[in-house]
Subunit: 206 residues, 2 copies
Amino acid sequence: MDKPLTRRQQIRLDTIETILRIAREEMQANGVAALSLGVIAKRIGMRTPSLYTYFDSKHAIYDELFRRGFLEFGRRMDERPYQDGTLQENLESSMATYMRFAQENPDLYQLMFQRPVPGFVPSEESMAVSLARLNMARSQFAYIWESGEIDTELTFEEARDLYIAFQHGLTELHLANNPDLPVGQGRFGKLITQAAQMIVAAWQKK
Amino acid sequence: MDKPLTRRQQIRLDTIETILRIAREEMQANGVAALSLGVIAKRIGMRTPSLYTYFDSKHAIYDELFRRGFLEFGRRMDERPYQDGTLQENLESSMATYMRFAQENPDLYQLMFQRPVPGFVPSEESMAVSLARLNMARSQFAYIWESGEIDTELTFEEARDLYIAFQHGLTELHLANNPDLPVGQGRFGKLITQAAQMIVAAWQKK
DNA sequence: GTCTATAACGCGATAGAC
DNA sequence: GTCTATCGCGTTATAGAC
C-alpha cells in the first residue's frame, strides 16, 4: 500500500524523526515545559522559523510525542506477561509495566499523564488514541471484575480507583526519588508486590 | 516586639498581599506555570516593572507562596483530629487533612509537591520551612512505628512509602476527577477509609 | 526615601515574503 | 530552507513624582 518514497520525502521524514529525538532529549534534560524551539533548531543546524516547515507549532511537537507515547504504552501493555495469570500476578505485571514505561520515558509519561505544559491540549486525533487505550485498560479490568475472582463491597469504579491511585502514587514516588533506578530496584521494588497483595486483599475482603 | 507601622509601610504590606492574592487567583484559573506578571500588574493597575518594588522576580512570588503553603499545611497537620486515636483513625485523619489541603489550595499544592514551573527552585529559607515540616511528619510516623501497634516485615521506609504513595495517588485522582468536590464526597470519599484499612492491614500482617 | 513610569534589552514563539 | 518582523514575556536601568 505504501508508495516508495522519493529521496526528498525520505530526507524530510528523517528530519522529522531528528526533531522529535532532540526534543525528547531536551525534555528529559531540562523538563517538559522548558522545551525551546531555538535549542532544537540550533542543534539541527537550522534557523528556528525553519522548523515550521516540519511542525505547525511547538504544541504540534508535543502532540506528536503525546500520540506516540500512547501507542508505545499500548504496545507494552498488550505484550506484558501474566495477562492470563492469577489476579496477583496480573496486577503486579500491570503495575510493573506501567512503572517501567514511566521510568524509561519520563518525558512522554509527563506529557501523557500530567499536564506540565500550560495551554497544551492534545489534538482530536491524539486524544482519540489516548482514549482508546484508556478504554482498553478499563475493559480489561471489567473482564477481571466479571471473572468471579473478585468479591468486595466496593463498586467497580471504587475498586479501579484504588488500583489506579496506588499505581500512580508508586510511580510518582519512584520518579521523584530514584529516577535512574530501573523499576524493581531501589526503594520501590518490594512495594509493587506488596501493593498488589494489598489490592487483592481489598478486592477479596468478603 | 513589633513596632507600629507607618502608613506607608502598611500600604506596602497590603500591596504585597494583593499581589499574592491575585497571583493565586490566576494560578488557579490558568495553571501554576502560566502565571504572568503582566496580568498581575494590569489587575492591580500598575505597570509590570513596578512589581519589582515588591518582589525581586516572578520566582520570588512563587517562592513566597511555596513558603506560606508549607506553613499553612503545617498548621493544619498540627491541628488535625485523632492524632492520639487508633492507628486507623490517625491514618484517616492524616490522609483527609492532606487531601483537603490539596483540594482547597490546588495552586499551593502543585507548587509544593509537584514541580510545575521550569527553573523554579525554592530559596534556602523556603526549603528550610519545607524540610522542617517533612521531617516533622517523618518523626510522627516514627513515633507511631515505635508505639508497638505495627508489626510487619516491611522496613520503616517501605511502610512509610506505601502510605505516601497511596495518599499521593488518591489526592491526584481526586484533583484530576473531582477538583470541585470537597474531600469525602465524590468518588473518593469511601476510598480514604478503605485505603487506611488496607494500610493498617499491611502494617499488621504478621 | 518610596513608589511608579518609561524605555529598552533579550529571548521566546510565530507569521509572511522571498 | 532563509530573513525580517511582530508580539509577549521577564527583567533592568533610569528618571520623575510623592
